[in-house]
């Protein structure tokens, strides 16, 4: 399913998310099961299926990582279930350093500051990756696509780090 078509948006990594949200609400008004509460079981089921599609489409297009993945899959490159990994040594070193900092948080006196610092470093690094990704996706070529896939893999690493950080933050609250 081409979600850009469903939302009638030109496929691009740079999309207007406010406009996307607006389209999402309009689509929901047309397909949501509550609009079919008095209709036949067939209509209700169809509405549940369409709404699930609209919801998935919105989540895919809203999230930059998933949007980029979706664009690549529309170009015939599916990396959602792959096992290829990142080979960039400098990047991997940086990842290890950040993981060590995560470990240090729970024994630190300034846990909150450490957490804030890490969030900021992550955000900064992700911004750089995203900008590069946007450029690569803007002009379609085999080389750019492969390179974009690499950036997406790195962004996935970053997403995992973010999750870890959130978990560490949670454990401090308990």
């Amino acid at each position: 399913m081409n979600y850009f078509e469903l939302f009638q948006i030109t496929p691009s990594f740079d999309i207007d998310t406010a406009n996307l949200a607006e389209r999402y609400r309009e689509l929901q008004r047309a397909v949501h099961p509550d609009k079919f509460a008095n209709e036949s079981e067939q209509q209700k089921l169809l509405s549940v299926q369409r709404t699930a599609q609209v919801n998935d489409g919105y989540q895919t297009l809203k999230n930059p990582l998933r949007r980029a993945e979706h664009m690549l899959s529309l170009r015939g490159i599916d990396i959602s279930h792959e096992t290829t990994t990142v080979k960039d040594t400098a990047f991997l070193m940086q990842q290890m350093e950040w993981r060590e900092s995560l470990e240090d948080i729970k024994d630190s006196q300034q846990a909150d500051e450490l957490i804030d610092d890490l969030y900021q470093s992550f955000a900064g690094f992700e911004k750089t990756l995203s900008q590069l990704l946007a450029t690569l996706l803007a002009t379609e070529s085999d080389e750019n696509n492969l390179s974009a896939a690499d950036q997406i893999r790195k962004l996935k690493f970053m997403a995992k780090l973010q999750d870890e950080l959130a978990r560490v933050e949670d454990s401090l609250l308990d």
């Binding site: 469903l6 389209r23 047309a30 949501h32 509550d34 509460a37 036949s40 169809l46 699930a52 919105y58």
Partner: protein
Amino acid sequence: MALFQIAEPGQSAAPHQHRLAVGIDLGTTNSLVAAVRSGEALTLPDDSNQHSLPSVVHYSVDSIETGLAAQALSVKDPQNTIVSVKRFMGRSLADIQSGEQQLPYSLTASDNGLPIFNTAQGAVNPVQVSAEILKPLISRAEKTLGGDLEGVVITVPAYFDDAQRQGTKDAAELLGVKVLRLLNEPTAAAIAYGLDTKQEGVIAIYDLGGGTFDISILRLNRGVFEVLATGGDSALGGDDFDHLLQAHLQRAFGLTELSASLSRQLLIESRRVKEQLTNADTCIASVTLENGDTVNAEVSKAEFESLIASLVKKTIASCRRTLRDAEVTADDIIETVMVGGSTRVPLVREQVETFFKKTPLTSIDPDRVVAIGAAIQADILVGNKPESDLLLLDVIPLSLGIETMGGLIEKVVTRNTTIPVARAQEFTTFKDGQTAMAFHVVQGERELVDDCRSLARFTLNGIPALAAGAAHIRVTFQVDADGLLSVTAMEKSTEVKTTIQVKPSFGLSDTEIATMLKDSMKHAKDDITRRMLAEQQVEASRVVETLSAALAKDADLLNPQELADINAAIEQLQLTAQGDDTDAIEKAIEALDAQTQEFANRRMDNSIRAALKGQSVENI
């Protein structure tokens, strides 16, 4: 139940008729029913002008009492008087007994571990007890509104899992009532405040009821309520405050052993003391012992607050976590709404106000606000307000996953995903000629199966016998707008639909529900066959009515042959529905459904295109 009506194609039955629908707040401590009358949503009182019905059911040998009448018997006969049954819904007996204080009931576990109350009237399960609470509310509504209800909206804590939701729906269906929607309590409260019409922005709803705690973060935008995240604890509420106070009083009175009756008396006194301390700094607690002596003890507000402080802190930690899930901060919140009787406790209000940095909204009675919101939604869903802009987009409160090797979980749907949602997952056989496969579905956030709630086990049968790894089974997990899960499966290469038997872990199987339905019919001197026939006839009339309306609008989407085929199928259904063959009517509905599937799809595509027409042209 609505009488069966047949409308000619293109003409719907009584188009401007006001349909009767109500909202029901099925609470842990109290339950209410509300309806929209002359444009205003109000809770409906009983004959003695009581709005709330205590959620208490008493079983004696020859009668069942509910509400105040049952509550009056609570101290005398605690074993047969069931209070706070909502806390038993969708949970195992072992789970309940590990957490709660002494329970005065005679409990046994069903085959799959569900609690069964052994009462003077025999064994009853939590679904049946809940149905007894719904019964007087529904008859109250039908009497007040002067007719049969076409549907109800029942509220549930946003944090309720699949089993708890299904149990609630089963209770209503046991009474033959159509559930238009299970609505999350916090969302209902937001509707009641009419926040949709007034503002745009992010709001927080803090809902502390008798037995459950919910925090929901919603974004409002021109009538659309989009739940961003929800969190909470389905076993934390005002009841726990009572239990802490009860234990405190027991210590203060120096009571080592408590009889069931004294324990109940102490609990009731604890609740009274808690309520008194809302407006007073001290309160005298007093109970009459079995030897006739009365003992007293003074409880100060400060003592009470120190007892409950850690529980209140727990709710605030949930708020923090949920804000993060919603990707907003406390500063983004433009309004906080307080729901549930336990938000009257001053410490709770103070802590919530401090955390969100603004005075919470409390102008609507926190006990009634949920029922009022449910009534507004019921009025819309039943079709009385076709022009309404209101739309609720809810989320699934807990992640859904399946068990993999070594007791680990693979998440299929993560928490706070907007519902309805569908996710497909592929599985392959690992033995030559394998024709069946077993799955275990769980709900929860932890990584190990044992730490999550078991939802259901199901077996796929009828997988075509192929070499190991050659059969690819695509399993689709679908969660509907009520937050209820259904599973379908198909083998990809052969497109063989595999059959699924779902065995709910903490819910009732279809056979158990059928048995309960038969039992309830016996009591009501009704006839199950007649009811099934009537239900199919109503469904047939609904199908014909909505299809006729669709044809009147969009017949141009069909070619003459398709139109003729559909009209023939409609006639066939109308003819069959006049008879009394339930199966034949069901078959005729299926036939018409098959005939109109493509038409329904085209109409949906059409409305999707129409929905985006107003948007700036950014076509591809």
